[in-house]
Structure formats: structure tokens, C-alpha cells
């Protein structure tokens, strides 16, 4: 009897465990944490155990390591490390590896147990060491590392001994690059002229409290094929807290620079410091055995990229969706969830200006468009339905280093008037406009309207009042000519994002007054070419076409011809400064790399190939240096979150002291989407900027994105695919996460209940209409009869029939091979032979559990019945024996 009780207990305990397993694991925070004790020890001259000279216990955390996309920013933080001395501003360049004492070196390497040869550096001199026969300043002391294996060091130095040794790089195809100069590097490395892929590896400083952090931008095979990280090739992040060389026996070492020397400079000091660093403890020797042995390896996994679909299935024709960049990051994650399944189709998202996509849609060129605002429909256009599939928005991303090497600023406040100033070129910018006496200079006479305005954003009193501590006369080097801060990088092609941004400006009384010509409280006026501009606009015009005064003439020494590039290549000055680009993704790249898009003055370049022709070329102004970066750009929220770019808080309501500033997060976007309205059934849900102006908690940059598809004229298979996309995107595609088919950061999930419930409902209704292809959805929204309303037995014909989700396919389909599923429901299944069963046949649906359950229980009962007396007789026999 007690046995039975025990058995029952076992079952009871097992059931909740099963229940726990049955409930789908929710993932939670995919963070990585590891703690490691890193040591620097030396061989004991007396012959005992190695003597520990220095040790630290370092804890490394990474905020996301699974399901990464290329160019995604992951934040690496650490604590307990030895503080860095002689800190440089630009921590990604080779100098940072060479001069900082006790930095933390962070690199991306291939494989889950990488060797130094699989770690990527953008240039060879980050993996170079001097053998230094003269032992200058300790640079050659890495040779005395006690962990070198037999023959390893000799093989590295070679015979005759080389002055410099280089760590080779093995790429994904197995080729070994010697990395001993610019010409022996893989193609993605810097070649001295330009850099295909921005730096990611860094020698990051640890502050005096032992903590440090760095935003590491990971690379997939799409950006760096030589490194070759992808969803099938595992990679890792290697974090090496540099402790210095653990030395072999002191015996033969030179006395001037003992191998055991510690760092020379004060922790927390900035470069350059008198006396320079002790090279033994700099980041240059990250790949020598002592430092490499102290590494922390963080395994990374990448999500399958959208281009997987092109590789997996080249035969199937994709169904292309064109339009908004706002869903670009989402479609990257959604696309592989379609092409891998036989009951779906090959989805491809492409970016295109939304107005152009709409015109192509109504002309029948494309099956579906992704846009925010409804297109201007002409009378002979087919009726179009709009199904909301995403809620995201625009943001002003920025990179701003605090003056005095105090790290990166993560919070900025902007008002619509400041954005208006940046877009209209109202700052007096690069050329001196006003002389010391307050009169106009040469260029001031060309631009008298902006001559007395502040030079750039960080000189603007409105900006300084909102963001104290970032600029002003007390921070030398921040005032004056900073041409990157006279504008915000924006987009040149027509875009719904620009329309939403300009609606935000138009809805704000201060910005509207400024653009109409009224001076702001500090007497700044708008650039006269933009005065009275009518907003909102789809595309921001470049209206200031004034030319700067021509520069000096230049005589080409080869040909003797006199050139004047500003006359030969006449680009209007503000066009050079504002320099909008053609896609929002490019703006996010530019802000991440701190590479402004503004163009330099056209310069004369002599062609080296044939001595005859020489040209005037314009190039982008140089990339900003880490430590003094200041750049703003208009980006999509999803790109900003993906790359780890901070975004500015925009003013949502009020003025002056009582103003509220809101950054984009789930709460503020929900507060905005609650105000979304549509004019009639089938039209998109739009957020009105004027209505949003009165909601302090709402993020002003929130935008909805809808799938637009014609309601007549699509072939049934395509209509089914588009409808399937809407249904999948609003259910499976709204689950937040990094996995295939999930919703990345920067979006507010659309759910059946909550603030996005009307959008969800509208999406299902429009999807049904798209599938049915039965024409316009009607101007009366279908009324759901409340349960208590009287319903006659024979209901009267309804004027606008609501489309039930099981709308049948038109009667032209013949009997056997119709597009139906096993239950007889019409389904948007492609009629390709990829279906598991022959089309038109009821598939096998067998359940072994059903077959086995009752007979098994009966059998167990019979066994119990028969076995009980047997067991009893066994036990009595034993007792008797």
C-alpha cells in the first residue's frame, strides 16, 4: 500500500516538472557573465612555484550574445580589472594598443575556442611586435614570456632574426595572410586609403574604480567575409585584461628594464604622459601567451541572414514587398521564417521611396508596398487596403563625446526648433561671417541672413540651456567652427519619415514661428531661403544655392594649367554642408562610424596614373576622432537600437521650464499609438502630430507601417501570400526577440489586446479582404451585433458584407486540385510540388498516443492484477527460506 503512495508521489512530483517543460521557455535575458582571475607571475629564482606578482579578479558581462545580426552593437562591461594609465582618446586605433598601460583588449575571433590567428584586426600594426635587439624601453621583453612553447618563439622570430614579428591571420577559407604590411592583408583590412569596414577591436580603458565598458560592433560574414562569422560558423568575442608579460627566469635579462617592471604612469592619466609607457604592460602583446592565457571567451551566435533565402531556394520566385525603411530590421529577421517553410513563400523586403512604391503598386508592377501614409489615389486606380504590420518610428541618433575625455554622452534633449535650425542651415557655420568688430566679412556679405547666428549647434544658447555640461566657453575646443554640428544628416529621397518629421515641426508653434521668419528668444533667425517653407513635406529641399567666394587659384605643375576648383566644381555651400544621403540605413552607419557626410571643399588632386589629366574632386570631411565626436543623424528607431546608438529625447509638449522630453520606449510609443486614427475601413492608422502635441507622455517620432495591397486584380496565389504575410507578421512576427521570425528592438509589438488592439483587428480584416480580392472594403465599418440584440431567424441582407476569414475562393477553380487544406478550408498554399502530400489528397493523420493509450492502461492493469499474487508469493517464500 505504501508502495502505491510512493508511486503516486513520484507521479505528482513529475507532473509539474513536465508542465514546466511543456510551457515554452521564454528566453529571458541572453546575457553573458564570467569571472576570471588573471595573473602575472614569474619563475621563482629559488626553483619553487611561480611567484604571483599581480592578480585581479575580473568579471565580464555582455548584454546580448545570441541571435546577433551584422553591425549590431553589444555592450561589453567589466569590473575588477587593473586601472588603465596613459589613456588615449581614440581607443580603436593602433596607437591605443601601443601606449596605454593595462588596457582591456576586445576582439572578435572565429570559432568557440579561438586561437590568436583567427582574431580580426583592421590593420597589421595591431598584431605587430618588435624583437628589439637593443632593448629600447622594454619593447622586446615579450620574448621572455615564460609560457612560450619549445621552438614557438624561435619559429616566430626566424633566422636571421627579424626586427618585427607579425601575427598571421587565417581567414574563413583557410588561407593564411602574413600581415606583415599593407599589401599582405585580407581585402577587408584598411589599405591606407580607405577602410571598408569600420574598426571594431579596441584597447579599452578601465577607469580607476576597476570598471569599464565598450560598445562592440560585431561583424557577420556579410560585412567581413574573411572573418566569416554567420549562423553556421560560430564566433566569439575575446576580452583580454592585459596584465603584462609573465617572465621566465631573470638570469640573463638586462637590468635596465627588468621584465617584471610594472606600469610607469598614474592610473587614469591621459596620453601623452612624460616618460611614455612601459611597453611590457601595453596592449601590443595581447597575443603573446601570458596575456592570451588571461582571456575571457564570450561565445557569439548569429541569426541566419535574410540572404539565406537566396542560397536555400534559388528556384522559387520571391514575392517582393517594396517601401518603408522603418521595417528594414524587422524584415531581416522575418525573411528566413518564410523561405524555410513549405506552406509559406519566399518573402523579400526591398526599400523604395514610399510614394514611388505606391505608384508602382497601383500600376500593377508590384504586389504589395510597405508605407505609413496612404498614397494619393487617382480615380482609375484599383482600391487599396492598408493592413498595419509594425509600429516603430524615427529618432535623432547621435554620437557625442563629453569634453575632457569624460566618456560618451548618452542623453541629449532636442526641441523641434533646434531640428528646424539644423535642417535649414541656419547656423553660420564653417566660413567666418562676422569679423571681430561685428561687421560682415566677405562671406558674411553673401549670407547676411545667418551672419549673426551662432556658428553651430553647440554654440546655440537654446541647446546649451537644455544640455548643460556639453559645450560652452568653459570647455575649450567645443566652440567655433564645427561644420558637422551645423546640420543633422538627413535623407535626400522622398520618405514618409521626412513627412512625419516635418509634421512634428509644423505642429510645434515655436518651430513653425521660427520657420516663418520670427527670431528665437536669442535673436537667431532662419536661413532666408527656407523662410515660409510649407510643411509637411515628403522630401527636404536644398534651397540655399548660394556659392562661397572662390578660393585661391592653383597651378598644376605638370601641365601649367591654372585651376580654381570652387569655380570648376560649383557645389552650393550649404548643399556641401547638409549633404543628405539616399537611405536612412546609411545615416545610421555614418553616425556609428562618426563619419559625417558633409563634403569638403573641392580640392585639386593630381592623377598619378597618366601625368596629363588632373581633376578637382570633392571628398567627405574626415571621420571624427574617438574622444571628440559630435554628430547627429535622422535614423529609424530599429537601426538605432540595433547598432547601439543613443537617441535624443524629443520635446513632446510644453515650452521652456514646463516642457516634457521623451525618448522612445515601449511606454511612450504606446501612448502615441493610442491616438492613431483611420479615416475609414481599409485606410491606414495614422498618428496625427497635432494630436500628439497635447500628449506629454507620447514619443513624437512614433510611426505605424502598413502593408498596402490592391483589393482587386491580384492573382489569387499572390493575394494569398500577401494576406499570409500580414497574418504571420501580426502574430508570430510581433513576438519580441532576436530569433528567426521574431520582432527586433525598436518596435512596439502589435497585440490583440492593449493599445494596439485596433491595429491588430484592422490588419486581420484587411488581410481577409486582400485574400478575397472582392473589391473596396466599404465606407461603413461592420457592426458586431451585441449578444443581447435581437437577431431574427433569417437575417436581412447586409449592405457591406464583412469578410469572414474563411472567404471561399472564386468558383472558377475545378474540383480536385483546388487550394484547400485537409479540413477543406481554402488556403494560400503554393501549388508547387514542395508540398509534403500530393495536392488534393487528404493527408495521413495518425496518432500513436490515441492508438496506444487505452490498451496500454488496460495492459498495465492486467499485469498488476496478475502480478500482485506472484509478488506476494515471492516475498513470503523468501521470508520462509
Amino acid at each position: 500500500m505504501w508502495l502505491a503512495v510512493v508511486a503516486l508521489t513520484a507521479v505528482i512530483v513529475g507532473a509539474p516538472a513536465l508542465a514546466g517543460a511543456a510551457v515554452a521557455a521564454d528566453g529571458g535575458e541572453p546575457a553573458f557573465t564570467a569571472t576570471k582571475t588573471v595573473v602575472r607571475d614569474h619563475v621563482d629564482p629559488a626553483g619553487g612555484d611561480p611567484v604571483v606578482q599581480d592578480s585581479s579578479t575580473v568579471t565580464v558581462t555582455v548584454d546580448q550574445t545570441q541571435g546577433l545580426q551584422g553591425m549590431q552593437g553589444v555592450r561589453v562591461s567589466w569590473s575588477g580589472a587593473r586601472p588603465t594609465a596613459n589613456i588615449t582618446g581614440n581607443i580603436t586605433e593602433a596607437n591605443a594598443f601601443q601606449v596605454q598601460e593595462y588596457p582591456v583588449v576586445i576582439l572578435q575571433c572565429r570559432g568557440t575556442e579561438p586561437t590568436p590567428t583567427t582574431c580580426w584586426t583592421t590593420i597589421y600594426n595591431k598584431r605587430q611586435l618588435t624583437t628589439d635587439p637593443n632593448d629600447y624601453e622594454g619593447v622586446g621583453l615579450w620574448k621572455y614570456d615564460r609560457h612560450w612553447q619549445d621552438g614557438e618563439l624561435a619559429a616566430l622570430i626566424g633566422t636571421p632574426p627579424a626586427d618585427q614579428v607579425y601575427l598571421p591571420f587565417v581567414d574563413a577559407a583557410g588561407k593564411t595572410w602574413s600581415m606583415d604590411g599593407l599589401e599582405h592583408q585580407p581585402p577587408e583590412a584598411t589599405n591606407g586609403y580607405d577602410q571598408p569596414v569600420p574598426d571594431q577591436e579596441a584597447a579599452a580603458p578601465t577607469s580607476p574604480d576597476g570598471k569599464g565598458t565598450y560598445l562592440f560592433s560585431v561583424r557577420s560574414s556579410a560585412q567581413n567575409a574573411s572573418l566569416g562569422c554567420s549562423d553556421t560558423v560560430a564566433c566569439s568575442l575575446v576580452v583580454i585584461p592585459i596584465m603584462g608579460t609573465s617572465c621566465a627566469s631573470e638570469g640573463a635579462l638586462p637590468k635596465r628594464y627588468p621584465c617584471t617592471a610594472e606600469g610607469k604612469q598614474e592610473p587614469g592619466s591621459t596620453y601623452p604622459q612624460a616618460g611614455g609607457p612601459n611597453a611590457t604592460v601595453t596592449g601590443m602583446s595581447w597575443w603573446t601567451p601570458s596575456n592570451w592565457g588571461n582571456r575571457v571567451v564570450v561565445p557569439l551566435t548569429f541569426s541566419p541572414s535574410a540572404s539565406l533565402c537566396n542560397v536555400l531556394d534559388t528556384a522559387q520566385e520571391p514575392v517582393p514587398f517594396y517601401g518603408s525603411e522603418l521595417v528594414g530590421q524587422a524584415t531581416l529577421q522575418w525573411a528566413p521564417a518564410y523561405c524555410r517553410r513549405a506552406d509559406r513563400f519566399k518573402f523579400r523586403g526591398n526599400t523604395m521611396a514610399e510614394t514611388v512604391a505606391f505608384r508602382n503598386l497601383v500600376a500593377g508592377e508590384i504586389p504589395a508596398a510597405l508605407l505609413t501614409y496612404p498614397g494619393a489615389a487617382h480615380s482609375d486606380d484599383p482600391p487599396v487596403g492598408y493592413a498595419p504590420v509594425a509600429v516603430s518610428g524615427f529618432a535623432v541618433a547621435f554620437v557625442w563625446d563629453r569634453p575632457g575625455s569624460r566618456g560618451q554622452e548618452m542623453h541629449l534633449r532636442l526641441t523641434p526648433r533646434l531640428i528646424a535650425k539644423l535642417l535649414t542651415g541656419s547656423y553660420s557655420a564653417a566660413t567666418a561671417r562676422v569679423d571681430d568688430a561685428g561687421g560682415l566679412t566677405e562671406s558674411g556679405k553673401i549670407w547676411p541672413d545667418v551672419a549673426h547666428n551662432p556658428a553651430s549647434l553647440n554654440d546655440d544658447p537654446e541647446f546649451i540651456a537644455l544640455n548643460p555640461g556639453l559645450s560652452g566657453p568653459e570647455y575649450p575646443g567645443t566652440t567655433g567652427l564645427q561644420s558637422a554640428l551645423t546640420s543633422m544628416i538627413s535623407v535626400s529621397v522622398p520618405s514618409d519619415v521626412m513627412r512625419a518629421l516635418t509634421s512634428y515641426l509644423a505642429a510645434d508653434p515655436e518651430a513653425a514661428a521660427f520657420l516663418a521668419g520670427e527670431p528665437d528668444p536669442w535673436k537667431m533667425t532662419v536661413n532666408s531661403t527656407y523662410k515660409g517653407i510649407a510643411l509637411p513635406l515628403d522630401a527636404w529641399p536644398l534651397q540655399d544655392v548660394r556659392q562661397e567666394p572662390p578660393g585661391p587659384d592653383y597651378t598644376d605643375p605638370n601641365s601649367g594649367i591654372v585651376h580654381n576648383c570652387t569655380r570648376e566644381v560649383p557645389i552650393p555651400f550649404y548643399n556641401r554642408v547638409l549633404a543628405p544621403v539616399s537611405s536612412l540605413a546609411a545615416i545610421a552607419d555614418a553616425v556609428l562610424a562618426a563619419a559625417p557626410t558633409s563634403l569638403d571643399r573641392p580640392a585639386f588632386v593630381q592623377a598619378t596614373v597618366d601625368g596629363g589629366t588632373s581633376l578637382c574632386v570633392t571628398k567627405r570631411i574626415p571621420k571624427q576622432i574617438y574622444g571628440s565626436r559630435k554628430l547627429l543623424g535622422l535614423v529609424t528607431l530599429a537601426d538605432a537600437r540595433r547598432f547601439g546608438l543613443p537617441t535624443a529625447s524629443l520635446r513632446s509638449s510644453g515650452t521652456g521650464e514646463s516642457a516634457t522630453f521623451v525618448d522612445a520606449d515601449q511606454t511612450s510609443m504606446a501612448a502615441a499609438v493610442v491616438t492613431a486614427k483611420r479615416t475609414e475601413v481599409g485606410e491606414p492608422y495614422l498618428i496625427d502630430a497635432a494630436a500628439l502635441h497635447g500628449v506629454p507622455a507620447a514619443y513624437p517620432g512614433t510611426m505605424t507601417v502598413s502593408v498596402a495591397a490592391p483589393l482587386t486584380g491580384l492573382p489569387p496565389e499572390t493575394a494569398g501570400h500577401v494576406a499570409q504575410f500580414v497574418r504571420v507578421a501580426t502574430t508570430e512576427g510581433q513576438v519580441p526577440g532576436p530569433g528567426v521570425g521574431q520582432l527586433p528592438n525598436g518596435y512596439l509589438p502589435i497585440t490583440a489586446a492593449g493599445p494596439t488592439a485596433p491595429l491588430y483587428k484592422a490588419a486581420q480584416e484587411v488581410a481577409a479582404s486582400i485574400e478575397a480580392q472582392s473589391g473596396a472594403m466599404g465606407s461603413v465599418s461592420p457592426t458586431t451585433p451585441p449578444p443581447s440584440a435581437p437577431a431574427p431567424a433569417a437575417p436581412p441582407p447586409v449592405t457591406s458584407p464583412p469578410a469572414p476569414p474563411t472567404a471561399p475562393v472564386p468558383a472558377t477553380v475545378p474540383s480536385a486540385a483546388g487550394p484547400v487544406t485537409v479540413d477543406g478550408l481554402p488556403a494560400p498554399k503554393p501549388t508547387s510540388a514542395a508540398a509534403a502530400t500530393a495536392p488534393g489528397k487528404t493527408p495521413q493523420q495518425q496518432s500513436t498516443v490515441a492508438a496506444a493509450a487505452v490498451p496500454a492502461v488496460l495492459a498495465a492493469g492486467v499485469v498488476g492484477l496478475v502480478g500482485a499474487p506472484l509478488v506476494r508469493s515471492f516475498s513470503t517464500r523468501r521470508r520462509g527460506a
Partner: protein, 267 residues
Amino acid sequence: MLVVAVLCGWFVLQLVVLGGFQQSRAQYGLYADFRQALVAQTAPLGGTIAAGTPVALLTVPTLGLQQAVVEGTSSGDLLAGPGHRMDTALPGQVGVSIVYGRASTYGAPFRSVPSLQPGDGIRVTTGQGEFVYRVDGVRRAGDPLPAALPTGGSRLTLVTAEGDGPFAALAPSRTVYVDATLQGDPAVGAPGRPSAIPDSEKAMAGDPSVLPVLALALQGLLLAAVGTLLLRRHLSGRVLWVIAAPVLLAMAWLAGGYAVQLLPNLL
């Protein structure tokens, strides 16, 4: 060992005999509720309907079948009678309507449905009126799918399971479909039907979400068993069983009812 036999025997008894009683009792209540709803014109016509609400009366004269159909097709919903799949139109409305029913346990309302002949009539009464369907045929694995519905057509599909071999009656393992087409004009339903159903409501699916409740019920049974054992010292045999038997039976019935929900819904 004897206890194992008792437990297994009880479980089979519950599935086959006691479940039948439970289902008849449930049907009695559903029929009464549905009649009332029809009179008051509050029967559901569409939109989101709570699982377990009666939505239709299904009558098949040739089989002598009369059942109240509830909304929802999970294993738990089908304990009370045939269930209507939530993502399909209601019977009598435009489109395909699908009804699942158990084939061998808990009253087995759809046990004889695979024996329907083409031409047999099925009458369905819903809040929108009485509708008559004529059976097109019975469909098993490998049979061709039915023709696509013409615009404005309506079809009813009954889904159940059947087995083969010596234990066919107790172990139906294959799904079988019976399609019937509406004679006459369908009604138009209200919008807002769910477009997808959870996995536990699909054909031959168990419902693992009952595991926590099952664990509680088993704990109750365990407590009752332990209590019985402890009381054995203080009370005589007959008195003990008079007190303990109803409690044990009730706990076993409760646990068995939840355990059944782990098994496929069409069983």
C-alpha cells in the same frame, strides 16, 4: 501491484463508462442552456465566443444522434460533447464549419459518424435558424480533398477518429472526415472570428496545460490515500471504507478527468 491494477482499471472505467454518464449530464445542461438562449435570442452568432458555450444543436436522424455542440475543440471542451472549431464559421454560415467529436470515450458521440452514407441529412439549429446539410461522403487518408466552395456556399465537416485491429473500439488512431453541403441559403456571420487556434485545439492534440491542475488533483488523491491509511489503526474496516470510499472515488474521478485531457481530443 494490486493498487496499480486498481488505478488502471478505474481509469479505463472512467473513460468508457463513467465518462459517458458525465457527458450525458453535461449534454442535459447544455441543451437546457441553449434552448433558453434560442428563446431569448442571445445565442452566439459570431465574434469571439467563450469556450464551452453551446453554439448549435446537431441532429443526425439516421444515426439517432442529437447533441449540443460547444465552442472549442480542446480535449477538455470535447468532454462535454462535440466541439466547434473556433477559427471556422459557425454552422449555417458562409464558409466551412468544422465540428470535432470523440469516437470512443466520454459518451463517444461521433462513434458511428464514419458510417454515414452520401445523401444522409444532418440538421443544425443555431441562433440564426435551422439548416439542413446533405452528406457528400466520408473521407480518409489518401482520399481526394473536397472541391472548393463556390462563392456564398457553406459546408459542414464532422471530424472524428477510427481505429482498426482488435482494439479498434478503444484505440481509434486515424482521423476521418465527413463532409456535408448546405441545402439552401446560408446566413452571414458576424466578423471577429479568431484567425488561428492554439495547437491543443487541433485534431488529435492533447492539452498539456492541464498538468498543473492534474498535479493538484493527484495530490488530493494522495492525501486521501494517506489519510485512509492513517485511519486504519483507529477505525474498523467497514466504517473506514464507508468514510474513505466516496472521498477516494471523488478524487480519482477528478484526477482521471484531468488525465484524460492529456490524451488526444478525438479519442
